[in-house]
């Protein structure tokens, strides 16, 4: 079997990766059921608005769990193999260190893309089942790209940690700390900053929140969704000067997406070339 295909399948067969995707889909289903049960009798939303809210809720759930997907796939594909010495059985083959790390990173990217695509496809089916409507394609594509960047960024951080720490326990422990800081603590920090700098209704407060979201890879899907939905939080918050005035624009999103997809990995690649 081709070595690269083997690496991709290894990620997809990983029980941790499967568990995360299953759990995320299950939670999405529960959240969607609750949403439909609460919102429908109130007739609070029109169909389009309904769908936007559905994507937002699902996006937030996915954005919360996808880092675990990235951590698990990065750990099982590269970090654990490097820390336990399993990678040496490959390094002795006629292949460069750069090729090994690049091939495994691409395997993570492809496996993450497949896993997220399948999960979003299921989400779309759940939406049809619960609300009778398919989700808007553009919003799903935006969510897909945002989640892929998020997953890959966390996988890249794991690749990097594998070159800074020696034991699997230390790597996984640090990954959990990073996850809690970035995914949970950071969320409360940006809410605090937003309120402290004039609330979420002012350009000043919103631009600071958006700035902090750019610094946080788990905030990236929410920024992409804000862009495709035309406003923050499912379009409910519209900045006075438009999204561009608070920094949500194509160039910024592209740069941030590329940064989070590539920079942690490039640092890991540099360390792989220069250090044992």
């Amino acid at each position: 079997m081709n070595s690269f295909v083997y690496d991709v399948l290894r990620v997809l067969r990983n029980r941790g990766v499967l568990l995360v995707m299953l759990l995320t889909t299950l939670l999405s289903f529960v959240a969607l059921t609750i949403f439909v049960a609460v919102a429908r009798p109130l007739s609070a939303f029109q169909v389009n608005a309904d769908q936007t809210i559905v994507v937002l809720i699902m996006g937030m759930i996915y954005a919360f769990f996808v880092p675990i997907l990235g951590i698990q796939s990065g750990y099982s594909t590269y970090a654990r193999d490097r820390a336990t010495g399993v990678l040496e059985s490959v390094m002795v083959r006629p292949v460069t260190r750069e090729r090994i790390i690049l091939s495994r990173y691409l395997a993570v990217v492809i496996a993450s893309a497949l896993a997220i695509a399948v999960a979003l496809g299921l989400l779309d089916l759940i939406s049809v089942f619960e609300t009778g409507y398919a989700l808007p394609t553009l919003q799903l594509v935006g969510l897909f790209l945002g989640l892929l960047v998020e997953s890959v960024a966390f996988a890249g951080l794991l690749f990097l940690l594998a070159h800074l720490l020696r034991s699997p326990g230390a790597i996984m422990g640090s990954a959990v700390v990073v996850f809690v800081l970035i995914d949970i603590v950071w969320f409360f920090l940006l809410l605090f900053v937003g309120v402290f700098f004039g609330g979420l209704s002012t350009t000043s407060g919103l631009s600071r929140v958006v700035g902090l979201e750019y610094v946080d890879p788990s905030g990236f899907p929410l920024l992409v969704m804000a862009f495709v939905q035309g406003g923050l939080f499912g379009g409910l918050i519209q900045p006075p000067g438009g999204l561009g005035s608070i920094g949500i624009s194509v160039p910024f999103l592209v740069v941030a997406g590329l940064f989070w997809s590539i920079v942690p990995f490039l640092l890991a690649l540099w360390l792989a070339r220069t250090r044992d």
């Binding site: 079997m1 083997y6 059985s89 490959v90 002795v92 083959r93 260190r97 220069t274």
Partner: protein
């Protein structure tokens, strides 16, 4: 052919920093007092030759092998495999080498045959012939019937056998064996010994590290002694025969003062019951025999009693056995 040229390895005191060239300028954060794991190793292993690497724990044997197979980077110097630098020309160099590490470590969830085929992919091997070759390798190393078993379920000895199969996958011309016999049962040891001799006959260059000095002594054409990161001596079998600790043990039918005086004129001689022990490693046994016969003695037994490798090694590093 393998060649180590001034290979040094120094692990940084601060592991967050890259290792520093021992001959290079000092950098912030580096401690200067750290002893290198390997210090200017120069060694050559020719085709069709087995070189044994001998040293205490921490002498640098495993470090040398890890650098040579490309899993560890040298701080200074280079290793070439069939003329290709293992760092600069990794693909060419690694295509002709095989490595059995001291503690083989493979992906535990993978099936034995799947994993061998995965490794084969890196050598550009694929398809049904490769699958057959992998199955035959597993059979050769005694893992027949375990092709579908997960490597993680293997015992240490079975992992060693699997590592041998993985090392032979690309029909290597250069083989690095780190404590090959550790963890193997008598059958595995015999298989490994025969394999090494057969590969040597086929022109393979083999670097063998082991703590079992009798094996090194039996199998190696030359023995390289490493101590505290430095190569302190390389010795051939012939040289070991004539090492200062070697002695000539002689028995004649009627030992007397005349025989003793003659032998003492050749070198320091002691008596051990009816036997004379001549501590003169450079002496020609045939000449001693001829002289004794000429003097009217009947020589019943005359043989060289060689200093064993262990004693030689400890004498070399200046430690008592």
């Amino acid at each position: 052919m393998l060649r180590f040229a001034g290979v040094s390895k120094r692990y940084p005191a601060n592991r967050w920093l890259p290792a520093r060239d021992p001959g290079g300028p000092a950098a912030w954060g580096h401690r200067e007092d750290q002893r290198p794991a390997l210090d200017g190793l120069d060694l050559e292993v020719r085709n069709g030759e087995i070189v044994g690497l001998v040293g205490l724990n921490g002498a640098g044997k495993t470090t040398a092998i890890r650098i040579a197979v490309g899993v560890s980077l040298p701080t200074r110097g280079s290793v070439s495999v069939d003329g290709h630098d293992i760092v600069e020309e990794k693909i060419e160099a690694a295509s002709t080498l095989g490595w059995v590490p001291e503690f083989p470590n493979f992906e535990p969830q993978a099936g034995a045959l799947d994993l061998l085929q995965y490794f084969a992919g890196y050598h550009g091997m694929a398809g049904a012939p490769t699958r057959e070759w992998c199955i035959s390798l597993l059979k050769q190393v005694g893992l027949e019937g375990r092709e579908r078993d997960r490597v993680g379920t293997f015992s240490q000895g079975m992992k060693k056998r699997f590592a041998m199969a993985a090392a032979l996958l690309n029909r290597p011309k250069n083989l690095f064996l780190d404590e090959l016999l550790n963890g193997l049962d008598p059958q595995g040891i015999r298989f490994s010994r025969n394999l090494l001799l057969s590969l040597r006959q086929q022109g393979c260059a083999i670097l063998l590290s082991s703590h079992i000095l009798t094996e090194i002594e039996q199998l190696s054409d030359r023995i390289a002694f490493v101590h505290q990161g430095k190569l302190i001596k390389t010795i051939s079998h012939e040289e070991l025969e004539k090492a200062p600790g070697s002695r000539l043990r002689i028995r004649v039918t009627s030992p007397d003062q005349g025989a003793l005086e003659y032998l003492r004129s050749v070198g320091p001689t002691e008596t051990d019951g009816p036997t004379f022990v001549l501590a003169a490693p450079q002496v020609d046994p045939a000449e001693v025999n001829a002289q004794l016969v000429r003097r009217g003695y009947r020589v019943v037994d005359l043989h060289t009693e060689r200093e064993d490798l262990e004693a030689y090694f400890f004498r070399l590093i200046g430690e008592d056995t």
